[in-house]
């Protein structure tokens, strides 16, 4: 790491991204087939999406609306007269031998996202967003030594978001992608499930000596599908290129594949200058004309975006910026927070639970927050029980564990398991006396001035009450009892 930092001092890394996001429309871009992930191979297709002779595409209007929504949410200009083009190339997963995409007149252009890295704000330009169709999937059948093709994914709508080469580190890329993901989730344009491939990132990376203005030869790393892979791939590639340049070698313009297990990338195929997709306007589809009324309709469907929500949450719930940032990083997390916080007098405590125990649980169990047994209402109740002294923070963790398993109401759990804090001084005094009787040595130690042993006594009281004794009362009573002891 130190080594890399030194190198980065002399060289600047320049990164541009191409992000492909599958849209959450119900049907495909040019036919009525369902877009849902998975399914038996070749059960979600028809003559249109499998490019049978004579079949014709009909554009799903929702795809345009989703793409424009994404454009509006990333500060893009919306193209009012847009067009679709054919990108011609042969591959078995592409049944028409061309991908219908957009070349000259993409739906959205010239946007930006603002990111914050190490306290510094930075605008990252978005060059364009266009719509296109996804391809099928090849399944290599090792035992049969053949390749099978599943066309279910063929024709699933995608947007491709192309940034300007304005990112300069893996940290910036990470923040940018997290922010972009949040925006696409907020606008419900894509579910951004990277592990299912509904968000895929290509990285274009080059290096140049600091201060240089022309770009170096770039390499492209395709189809990265986790943020950690993206970060690692960038760091590896930056180091590789800088090492090459330092050795006086030229960077070969090429496409590389990242092997996440081995942590290395290697050349895929050479992207020489002769690759020509022979783009031309798709004659089977009409131009997309977005009039004022339609644009306004789409505009009005853009919901509150992450930054707006963050600011509102800071103002409304008095959360620290750090907390608000964390919570609004995901729409579903923010939804959960607001559902709990609006029922609570202590939103900060809710936020602590979300950032702490709850996040840990989500990670451990690999589940979505929309799918957990602990409802926001119950979490708010739990916080309320802590704040009103019904249970201690430590007990609350126990209650939470039970809630996670049984999806129970915390009030019932506390009652049934008898977890309520003991506030009754007489009851606690009985325990204290018992502890004193059983631990004469500790008391002797205290008499000799070993104050630490007081803590031991408190611990014993808590143990005997299963942690339920109100700690302040226990403390008070122990001191009173000690005084009595030493006086006698």
């Amino acid at each position: 790491m130190k080594d890399l930092k030194e190198k980065l001092m002399e060289y600047e890394v320049v990164i541009g991204l191409e992000v492909h996001a599958e849209l959450t429309t119900n049907s495909k871009i040019y036919c009525n087939c369902a877009t849902r992930f998975g399914g038996e191979p070749n059960t979600r297709c028809c003559p249109v999406c499998t490019g049978m002779p004579g079949a014709l595409p009909v554009l799903n209007k929702k795809v345009v609306e989703y793409a424009v929504k994404a454009g509006l949410a990333t500060n893009c200009s919306i193209t009012r007269y847009s067009r679709q083009d054919r990108k011609n190339y042969f591959y078995p997963d592409l049944p028409k031998a061309y991908q219908t995409s957009q070349q000259d007149r993409p739906l959205c252009t010239n946007g930006y996202l603002e990111i914050e890295v190490d306290g510094l704000l930075k605008k990252v330009g978005i060059h364009r967003i266009h719509i296109e169709e996804d391809a099928g999937k090849l399944i290599h059948n090792e035992s049969g030594n053949n390749t099978l093709i599943d066309y279910n994914r063929c024709g699933v709508p995608l947007i491709e978001i192309v940034t300007r080469p304005e990112l300069n580190s893996s940290a910036e890329v990470k923040v940018f992608i997290e922010k972009l993901k949040a925006i696409l989730e907020y606008t419900e344009v894509s579910d951004c499930k990277m592990q299912e491939g509904s968000l895929r990132v290509d990285i274009n990376l080059s290096v140049r000596p600091k201060g240089e203005s022309t770009l170096g030869n770039r390499t492209e790393i395709k189809n990265l599908n986790s943020i950690s892979a993206i970060v690692r791939a960038i760091e590896y590639e930056a180091k590789r290129q800088i090492d090459e340049v330092k050795k006086g070698r030229k960077i070969i313009q090429e496409t590389r594949r990242w092997d996440d297990e081995k942590g290395v990338s290697f050349p895929m195929r050479e992207k020489n200058e002769t690759v020509d997709y022979r783009f031309f306007p798709e004659p089977d589809l009409c131009p997309i004309i977005i009039d004022e009324a339609w644009l306004n309709e789409i505009k009005s469907s853009v919901p509150e975006l992450p930054d707006e929500r963050k600011n509102r949450i800071i103002a409304e719930y008095k959360l620290p910026e750090y907390d608000a940032n964390f919570i609004t990083g995901s729409k579903t997390l923010a939804d959960y927070f607001e559902k709990a916080a609006c029922k609570s007098k202590n939103p900060k405590a809710i936020s602590n639970w979300l950032m702490g125990d709850l996040s840990k649980k989500l990670k451990e169990n690999n589940v979505e927050i929309t799918n957990i047994p602990v409802t926001p209402e119950n979490l708010a109740k739990l916080v309320e029980f802590i704040d009103s002294g019904v249970i201690s923070g430590k007990i609350a963790k126990q209650v939470f564990e039970i809630m996670w398993v049984t999806s129970g109401d915390p009030a019932e759990i506390i009652e049934n398991k008898g977890l309520r804090v003991i506030n009754d001084a007489d009851e606690i005094r009985k325990v204290v006396i018992k502890v004193f009787e059983e631990n004469p040595k500790a008391i002797e130690d205290i008499r000799k001035g070993k104050e630490k042993s007081i803590g031991f006594l408190i611990g014993q009281v808590m143990r005997k009450t299963n942690g339920k004794a109100a700690p302040d009362i226990a403390n008070q009573l122990i001191r009173k009892e000690l005084d009595r002891y030493f006086d006698s």
Binding site: G54, A55, P95, R278, F280
Partner: protein, 475 residues
């Protein structure tokens, strides 16, 4: 009585009056096909069993009083029109075994109208050609003279209708592929306005130019078929969302005051003398009926063929890329790699003209040629459209010969320029999105049919039909 000589309207009338039965009619066509197809080669596939099965079913429905507009009319479709469950080859080895599991909109419409599919018609492979000699299934012969070509690409369709092997046929017209063979074979051929008829299920050659069109023996039949197949189709984004009129309402023998334009560029060099003569006669006929003939100018005419060639081959190169041997159709054997499979399949599956078109088309849209060829061709196309738009400000229809020469002898297919020139009068209607009809107008000294073309404004098929009908009645 030879039932195959009946026009659609005559046959419908006789079926309605129970003078003939549907199955009788269908069988006489099947017989005619059996007798002639060996020499003419119009059919690739004949649907005998389906015809025998459908005949009685339709007869029964009709006898029950159901309203079926084309009940029992035997027709045939060019083999680039998808027919569910019936071999659809595009006259190519590439699709020699392709039986679609879905249907074209026109076939669906015709089925619902009660028309009976006799079979699938020969054509130039993937619509590429003007003489119907580029077919994997062998050439089609002109019924008027088997030494001569029937025209193309829908030569089979025109020959079948001319030789009474079908009551009507549908072909597709990208530059004249319905009108030129109709002229060569002495039948009526209509190229409707782009967008009037759904292209869903038309195996694409030049998507932005081609329209399905009827080939019939009379103008009245043309109107009847057009009624059955026209109309908006949500499955075709380029189909026009408009309500079309009843075209038979235009079958009126009255064109008084009709303004007819004659483009001066169309009667210059290269025009066969007799065809020029015929054109003059036609003008006289029209004038005698009260029409007014004016000279007009379409200055961009001379660029129409090259512009067409660039656009059509560019689109074809992309449209035909999907035939790769992976999913259906012809697949080369013993291939070691994917690349070899692609190369061998496409080398062996496509005929020469198709490969030439694909190569040229790919070149025209390659990165370095796009601006100087493809983009320029689009510009020419726009200018031609403007020429016509201007002309149509003052006139109702344009009159031209359909082709500069009558049907030529077979064996000249290796002269692509000559092939293209036979579409010189027809191609502009495709570039400009207009409608146009070719109607028979007598014969030349060799006894070969001469055709007359009328070009109309977009979606003004009604006027074309009115003028063509009046002309037919008065010649």
């Amino acid at each position: 009585m030879d039932l195959t000589r009946l026009t659609i309207s005559e046959a419908l009338e006789k079926i309605k009056n129970k003078e003939i039965s549907i199955i009788e009619l269908v069988r006489s066509y099947l017989k005619q096909i059996e007798n002639l197809n060996k020499t003419i080669g119009a059919y690739i596939t004949v649907c005998r069993e389906d015809c025998e099965r459908m005949g009685p079913i339709l007869q029964e429905k009709l006898d029950c009083g159901e309203n079926i507009p084309l009940a029992g009319i035997p027709m045939a479709l060019s083999d680039n029109i998808i027919t569910r469950g019936v071999l659809t080859t595009c006259a190519s080895k590439m699709l020699h075994n392709f039986i679609p599991q879905y249907d074209s909109t026109v076939n669906e419409k015709l089925r619902h109208s009660g028309a009976i599919l006799l079979g699938k018609l020969n054509m130039d492979e993937f619509s590429i050609g003007s003489s119907n000699e580029n077919s994997y299934f062998g050439p089609v012969k002109n019924p008027w003279d088997p030494e001569r070509v029937p025209g193309g690409s829908c030569g089979g369709a025109a020959a079948a209708v001319a030789a009474n092997m079908a009551c009507f046929a549908l072909g597709s017209d990208a530059c004249g592929s319905v009108r030129q063979p109709s002229s060569f074979c002495g039948v009526v051929g209509l190229k409707p306005t782009y967008g009037l008829i759904s292209r869903y299920g038309l195996i694409a050659f030049a998507s932005s130019l081609e329209q399905i069109g009827p080939i019939t023996r009379t103008v009245e039949d043309c109107a009847i078929v057009l009624n059955a197949i026209a109309g908006y189709d949500p499955k075709d984004s380029t189909s026009a969302n408009i309500k079309h009129p009843d075209y038979t309402a235009f079958l009126k023998d009255n064109i008084k005051g009709l303004k007819i334009g004659l483009p001066k560029e169309y009667i210059e060099k290269g025009l066969q003398k007799e065809i020029k003569q015929k054109l003059c006669e036609a003008l006289t006929v029209f004038e005698s009926m009260g029409a007014v003939v004016e000279e007009i100018s379409i200055p961009m005419t001379k660029y129409a063929i090259p512009a067409y060639y660039i656009i059509a081959s560019a689109e074809a190169s992309s449209n035909l890329a999907r035939y790769d041997g992976i999913r259906y159709g012809y697949r080369a054997e013993d291939c070691e790699s994917l690349e070899e499979l692609y190369k061998k399949t496409r080398s062996e599956g496509f005929g020469f003209e198709v490969k030439r078109t694909i190569m040229l088309g790919a070149y025209f849209i390659s990165r370095n040629c796009y601006d100087s060829y493809y983009k320029k061709a689009l510009k020419v196309r726009r200018l031609i459209s403007e020429d016509f738009k201007k002309a149509f400000n003052d006139i109702d229809v344009i009159i031209t010969p359909t082709v500069p020469k009558t049907a030529f002898k077979t064996g000249r297919k290796d002269d692509p320029i000559q092939m293209c020139m036979s579409n010189i009068y027809t191609v502009s209607a495709n570039l400009a999105g207009l409608c146009a009809i070719s109607i028979p107008h007598g014969t030349d000294c060799n006894g070969l049919p001469v055709g007359l073309q009328l070009i109309g404004k977009p979606f003004d098929e009604g006027t074309l039909i009115r003028a063509a009908y009046a002309f037919e009645k008065n010649t």
